[in-house]
Amino acid sequence: MDDALLLAADAARVMLESGGETYRAEDVAVAVASSLGGAEAECYATPTGVTLSFVGIDGRVHSIIKRIKRRAMHLERIALVDKLARDLVAGEKDFESASTELDRIERLPGLKVAYSCAAAAIGAGFFTLLFHGMWNDALVAAAAGIVVSRFPPVMARRQMPDFFTNLFAAAVGAFLCLGGKELGLVANADAAVIGMLMLLVPGVAVTNAIRDTIAGDLVAGVARGADALLAAVAISVGAGATYQLWRLLSGGALP
């Protein structure tokens, strides 16, 4: 019974760590627990933790708390954990195969450095074009995007809070784009900086926060909203500081 408890809670934890919605994590935990024989399964999830309890076959209440410390978007994991829960409910998987599958999902490798750099460059570059930049602006934004995209993994390894990651990444990214303008590589600095910032902007987080709140997960929604607001502040302060510094150094002229 405790195995089922651990499996259900871990499934919810992986869901939340991969950026899944709160209600989906709760549904997955309840579905896994009930399909493995738990009655009265209830799960309460927030972006920072999962609480799960159910009544086992032995008639006792089992419960567990899982803390969630880091979150990084991993859509493939969300899809696979969701499928795992569906398979369990449909009876296409038993406990053993489900636990090996969850283990496999958790060990799913992240992007190789080269690939994530390429993806960041593509994202930043094309969004620069979208916001009326030219090809040269896009190339500089892509280069800045590569640098910016290396910040989260490196800073996470040093246990740095997300706030500082966003702050420093935005500052360095803006500095690179303004430097590009100074060198004559960038014509439209606004577009280049916007394209680079798109990598950091917590737009998805804001949207998810509002959706969680509308769905009735009030605590999770407010927590995500605060997280998104803090990230927005960090990015604005980081990029803004670079702009102010630039103004100081270039004698009052803003890009």
């Binding site: 024989g37 009876g91 993806a119 593509i122 798109m198 737009g203």
Partner: protein, 183 residues
């Protein structure tokens, strides 16, 4: 840059972000299409009404419905597609211009731009919520899912809900039901 290329840029940028979010394979061109679709919908509305919030509201409703359809075909959660396809609409530019106004010392303009940015973000969320509510109302698949949802399984009878006996009985019933369906 010519305007008709914008959906293309939006789609390619979306694919880049989707790959960064660890989406692989067939889903990448699908979400690129979704990102392009959302932007293409928002463009004429933005031009006609000059209201970013309204344009984003409609575009995110379209994205939401598109994502529900794709999710049903691909048998994956709709949010996987939604998260990627709304990225071009995410008001990164608004946030940047808000910051720029404050740096320039135009606090009132900054406040106005910031509010407009917040409104745009809110309208995306509302559009998505509306489309998911609509699809929940009309989709047969989700009705079927709701009926078979484990949460709704009546494992314990009302009588003597908290007696150990009934809980045990309920559990065995639940367990045997899942075993039956396995074979």
């Amino acid at each position: 840059m010519t305007q008709w290329l914008e959906p293309l840029w939006a789609g390619l940028g979306t694919a880049g972000f989707a790959f960064l979010f660890n989406l692989r394979g067939k889903d990448l061109p699908i979400v690129a299409l979704g990102g392009a679709l959302g932007w293409a919908v928002s463009m004429p509305i933005l031009a006609a009404t000059e209201s970013q919030a309204f344009a984003y509201l409609v575009a995110s409703m379209v994205i939401g419905i598109w994502a529900e359809v794709v999710a049903a075909v691909r048998r994956r959660p709709a949010s996987v597609y939604i998260i990627c396809a709304i990225i071009p609409l995410v008001p990164g530019a608004g946030m940047y211009y808000t910051m720029l106004e404050y740096v320039r010392g135009n606090n009132w303009n900054g406040l106005a731009t910031g509010l407009a940015t917040l409104l745009a973000a809110g309208s995306i969320a509302v559009g998505l919520a509306v489309s998911s509510a609509v699809s929940r109302l009309i989709s047969l698949r989700s009705i079927a899912r709701r009926l078979s949802s484990p949460r709704r399984k009546p494992t314990i009878e009302n009588k003597g809900k908290y007696s150990q006996q009934s809980i045990r009985r309920g559990d065995k019933k639940n367990l045997s039901a899942s075993q039956e369906s396995r074979h």
